[in-house]
């Protein structure tokens, strides 16, 4: 069956064009106008993905993320206004999977939806991950760039591993610090930046124009594995 998407959005015009765009991609769509209605629908219909607008009339969209995460892992894609990095970080830290800033192009949204659905379907895929010229053998902990082995320090490797685990997803600085260095280091973002810079130097052809290790300004990092088609 086609994946079911729950759209929680109060603006009728946005619902209208999303309805058209999603129908064209053969997704099934359930619409909710308020947070309350959205939560009820999410529990009743168990959608495959939730598209959530943060500015809802009755409740903060962040609350919806929190409530949904209390009982399930349904991927949540947040629709946020431009420039509100704080909201994006809060949403991601609460467990949202990704965000798209308004105004957005439908193509970009559909790509994010596909990626999120794919991530939730994939279960511990192959042990060798490839992106660009990089090849990571997760079993043997080996990293090769253009066939040549590259030495990573344990922390660099751990960081890369976390990024690969969540490939395609934005990880906030806090999430990365927590997973690599542990919960007591979540404020030391400088560490992280230095390690990311080192990883880029080792893996990217031009570290100043990274193809895979993307920065989401003010929010965090995203490892892009598939070539954007």
């Amino acid at each position: 069956m086609k994946p079911l998407i729950l759209l929680i959005e109060d603006d009728a015009q946005i619902r209208r064009f999303l309805r058209a765009a999603l129908a064209a991609e053969d997704y099934r769509l359930q619409e909710a106008v308020t947070a309350e209605e959205g939560l009820t629908q999410a529990a009743a219909r168990q959608p495959d993905l939730i598209l959530l607008d943060l500015g809802l009339p009755d409740r903060d969209g962040l609350e919806v993320i929190q409530k949904v995460r209390e009982w399930g892992k349904i991927p949540i894609l947040v629709l946020s206004a431009r420039g509100q990095e704080k909201d994006k970080i809060a949403a991601l830290d609460l467990g949202a999977d990704d965000y798209v800033a308004k105004p957005f192009a439908v193509g970009e949204l559909l790509a994010r939806i596909r990626a999120a659905l794919r991530r939730s379907a994939a279960t511990a895929a192959g042990t060798v991950v490839r992106f660009g010229a990089v090849e990571v053998d997760l079993d043997k902990r080996l990293v090769r760039v253009e066939g040549r082995e590259v030495h990573l320090t344990p922390n660099e490797y751990k960081l890369l591993q976390v990024l690969i685990q969540h490939a395609g997803k934005v990880l906030t600085q806090r999430q990365l610090l927590n997973e690599v260095w542990g919960p007591q280091h979540t404020e030391q973002a400088q560490y992280l930046r230095v390690y990311i810079a080192q990883l880029r130097r080792k893996l990217e052809r031009n570290p100043a124009r990274p193809k895979h290790l993307h920065t989401e300004p003010g929010v965090g990092y995203r490892l892009v594995i598939e070539d954007p088609a």
């Binding site: 105004p103 930046r193 880029r200 570290p207 100043a208 990274p210 989401e216 300004p217 003010g218």
Partner: protein
């Protein structure tokens, strides 16, 4: 009394000298000695005394110097002419010298007055606040008139003893009503004046050409001096000069406010017209394309439909950018920008900007050359990223497609320098600064039709860089093109 003794002494000395010389000099010559004495008295003493000295001299001359001696009787009646002549000359000397002295004294008073007023006007000239002007005038008046002086200013149209230029209050609070009367009527009152002569102070209105600004209260230390007519007059001139100075201050301020207000209005209206033009143009394209598609859907060739759709999407994007820029500009202008600074490798910020620009940079060579070992920069990464993105976007928009761009960074004299260089038409001389002004479009851009911007990108860049205490400038590039140069001071976190 001392002056009278002095006059008598002078006559006595003249007499003594004459007595000693009366055997060797003719009596008519001795009269000259007395006249000398009268001149001396007239120079020093009042006119009355010198007249008295004239008569006394004639009498003494008769008594001691005209034979027979020690009697007023005269042997030769010729001497009556001598006496009359001597008296006439002495009186003329007395009168003329006295008049001369009066003139000198008046000149001195006038000079003191001029000086006092000059000091007043020079002290008030630079004063832009009413209260400060009143305070300066009060302290100068205290000095000039040797009195305690305080100025009371009105509060909501009524004189208030609370609004005064010095502490403590030198007059009884009950006299506030006298000050109010003076303020209302514009006439002086109080001590020795026609109204309320038993008050502790003399109240003089600070009355300008159009209105009364306050009340000057004078408490003389020595009552005699200040009530001399010329002092009273000076006091009034002083008060009116003060009022005029305050009036000038106020009208200057009003003129300045009007000027600023007009400028603001002018800017607002030009801003509004620029914004509404920039908002309407893409809106018009979107509305036009969308309505064409809706009403003539079936009759349009597919390629045309696609074209209209592209235009809707492009124009919407442009509208979005414009609204975003307007929001940013509003944010930067409504107060100091709140920076979320941290230490970042510049590489990361540059990389993000380039990544975001990827679609617009298709088909161009973008050379990035970041110096090795650049220090971390202490910045708001989102905002600095936006600056780079804006510069790259401008370069992509205003330079020929396919022309190369360079993004270079290096360290120089305690600052990290970031340069975005292009090979476009460059910036016209004289426009290097103007392009950072709001809604300014370079003249090379004007009328080129396909290059649109709201003229906000560079002003936003400048606002962001200046919030980081850095600088951003546009420079001509050797070999053609433009260089945008950002300098960020290296700072610790």
């Amino acid at each position: 009394m001392r002056a009278a003794l002095l006059a008598a002494a002078v006559v006595a000395i003249a007499t003594a000298a004459s007595v000693l010389l009366r055997d060797s000099l003719a009596p008519t010559n001795l009269a000259m000695i007395y006249l000398g004495g009268v001149v001396a008295v007239a120079m020093r003493c009042s006119r009355r005394l010198s007249v008295a000295a004239s008569f006394l001299s004639v009498a003494a001359f008769d008594f001691f110097c005209v034979p027979p001696y020690l009697t007023f009787a005269v042997s030769d009646y010729q001497y009556v002419f001598t006496f009359a002549g001597m008296l006439a000359v002495a009186l003329v000397i007395s009168t003329q010298t006295g008049r001369l002295r009066d003139h000198a004294a008046q000149a001195a008073v006038r000079e003191a007055r001029t000086e006092a007023l000059y000091r007043l006007s020079s002290r008030l000239a630079g004063e832009t606040r009413v209260f400060e002007a009143a305070r300066s005038a009060a302290s100068l008046a205290a000095e000039v008139f040797a009195a305690r002086v305080v100025v009371f200013l009105p509060e909501d149209g009524r004189i208030s003893f609370r609004r005064r230029t010095s502490d403590p209050l030198p007059v009884p609070p009950s006299e506030e009503s006298i000050a109010q009367w003076v303020f209302d009527h514009g006439h002086k009152a109080g001590l020795r004046a026609d109204a309320h002569p038993d008050a502790t102070a003399l109240y003089i209105p600070l009355r300008g050409a159009r209105e009364t600004f306050g009340v000057l209260a004078v408490l003389p230390d020595s009552q005699n001096r200040i009530f001399a007519p010329e002092q009273q007059q000076l006091l009034e001139v002083f008060a009116s000069q003060t009022a005029l100075a305050i009036e000038r201050t106020l009208s200057q301020r009003a003129a300045e406010e009007t000027r600023v207000h007009m400028q603001t209005e002018q800017m607002r209206s030009s801003l509004l017209s620029a914004v509404s033009h920039d908002l309407r143009t893409p809106l018009a394209s979107i509305t036009g394309a969308a309505s064409t598609l809706r009403s003539q859907h079936g009759r349009l060739p597919l390629a045309t439909q696609q074209e209209l759709l592209d235009s809707i999407s492009d124009e919407a994007e442009r509208l979005g950018r414009l609204v975003g820029n307007l929001l940013d500009m509003t944010r930067f202008e409504s107060g100091p920008v709140e920076l979320r600074r941290d230490l970042y490798p510049l590489e990361e910020i540059v990389g993000t900007a380039l990544q975001r620009m990827e679609p617009q940079l298709q088909g161009r060579t973008v050379l990035t050359d970041l110096a090795e070992n650049l220090p971390l920069v202490f910045v708001d990464d989102v905002l600095i990223g936006q600056v780079l993105w804006n510069l790259l976007e401008n370069a992509a928009k205003y330079t020929p497609p396919g022309s190369p761009l360079d993004l270079v960074a290096f360290e120089e004299q305690g600052a990290v320098i970031i340069e975005v260089r292009d090979r476009g038409p460059g910036i016209l001389p004289g426009e290097e600064e103007r392009i950072f002004e709001k809604f300014y479009r370079g003249s090379s851009v004007k009328g080129s039709g396909n290059a649109h911007g709201a003229g906000l990108g560079l002003p936003i860049c400048r606002a962001i860089i200046e919030a980081h205490r850095g600088t951003i400038r546009a420079l001509p590039r050797e070999g053609g093109g433009a260089t945008f140069r950002i300098s960020l001071p290296i700072q610790a976190a």
